[in-house]
Symmetry: C2
Subunit: 210 residues, 2 copies
């Protein structure tokens, strides 16, 4: 059995506490091979029926990155139009993506057509296929932070448009568009809390008993 | 900035490699307070717009546990009927849940009606609300394994029936039904691989470049 001690658990706790959604990146690149290593680790995440349905796409071409940024701007303007008054003013001030500076752009898809796993575990809850990809992303997030690398999850995008911009198979479905790089600053407080948008409840939620 | 060294990263890697879906549990209980501590840690996971939409339900009543076991048996029989030949024979031999012995049953729901986060980040991709709950579960999974506690994710259930069995609000939606406890044995190889159902590709998947 693998053996984890109190010191490891203290550090794991720090990592979980300290992992933030990062939107302000330095432009210096990750060390050679680090992204491949992080993706390989994330592929050890649990997956329903051992389906391993994740598909990782590194976006390098400036034209494709610009296309994604434009799609974010479009979707973000529409989102802003859904708020009014103080909320709209606050929303307009938020920095909701690090697409402008992050050295790494990584799009993560699910392949719903995969035969792997032979359907096991997803007859009544087919959404566990998408959930498996989320598990890989959260694993990547923690592993990246342990290397000092920040991750920001961009969800203000029309998923199907991203398929077209990146020229990936139409039947793949976007789970997340990720920015990675070294953060400009470090903090334990979520940016949305610092900006006054929402406060964190954290551990105060009661456990319901049945 | 939190400081993580090579030794911590080695252990984190071991934890990620070693984290398994556990289906065979010892019946001895978790130490007092440990589940609360693990759930509190998992509530530090990322969530879209800081919505924190997770709802945790500990299932203690024997009648409710029996109801969930019966629902699993029903859904599993239906799943078995979908296979034939060798695959059916193999499926019938798999142990797909630890509901019979695990000392802790934990149902995890999303509350799609939450106002928290004010809708931020989920206009174009509303599924990020469910994904946030998955992030909490994967965090719980890793934190539990660092304590030597195993977790098994049961997805062979009709989600809406679980709401009725547990008498939770109808608008909550089941993300996962989890079994927790100390594993009967330790292994790095997924059970589905040991049983000959599926092999793991792991890190061999290529990173697509665009």
């Amino acid at each position: 059995m693998a053996d984890f001690d109190d010191e490891f658990r203290r550090h794991l706790r720090s990592l979980i506490v300290w992992r933030r959604d990062v939107r302000c990146f330095r432009t210096d690149p990750l060390p050679h091979g680090m992204l491949e290593e992080l993706v390989a680790l994330s592929c050890l995440a649990p997956s329903v029926g051992l389906s391993e349905p994740w598909r990782f796409v590194r976006v390098n071409a400036e034209s494709r990155r610009a296309g994604v940024r434009a799609e974010f701007e479009r979707a973000n303007s529409e989102a802003l139009a859904g708020y009014s008054g103080d909320q709209a003013r606050l929303y307009a001030q938020l920095k909701l993506a690090g697409l402008d500076r992050a050295p790494v752009h990584l799009a993560v898809f699910v392949d719903p057509g995969t035969d792997k796993g032979k359907g096991l575990g997803r007859r009544t809850m087919p959404e566990t296929l998408e959930y498996s990809v989320v598990g890989a992303i959260v694993t990547l997030w923690l592993a990246a932070r342990a290397q000092g690398v920040g991750l920001g999850w961009v969800s203000i995008l029309e998923a199907s448009r991203v398929n077209a911009i990146l020229d990936v198979p139409e039947h793949w479905s976007l789970i997340a568009y990720l920015c990675l790089g070294y953060p400009e600053e470090e903090t334990q407080t979520p940016e949305l809390e610092r900006a006054g948008w929402e406060t964190r409840s954290g551990a105060t939620l009661p456990l319901v008993e049945r």
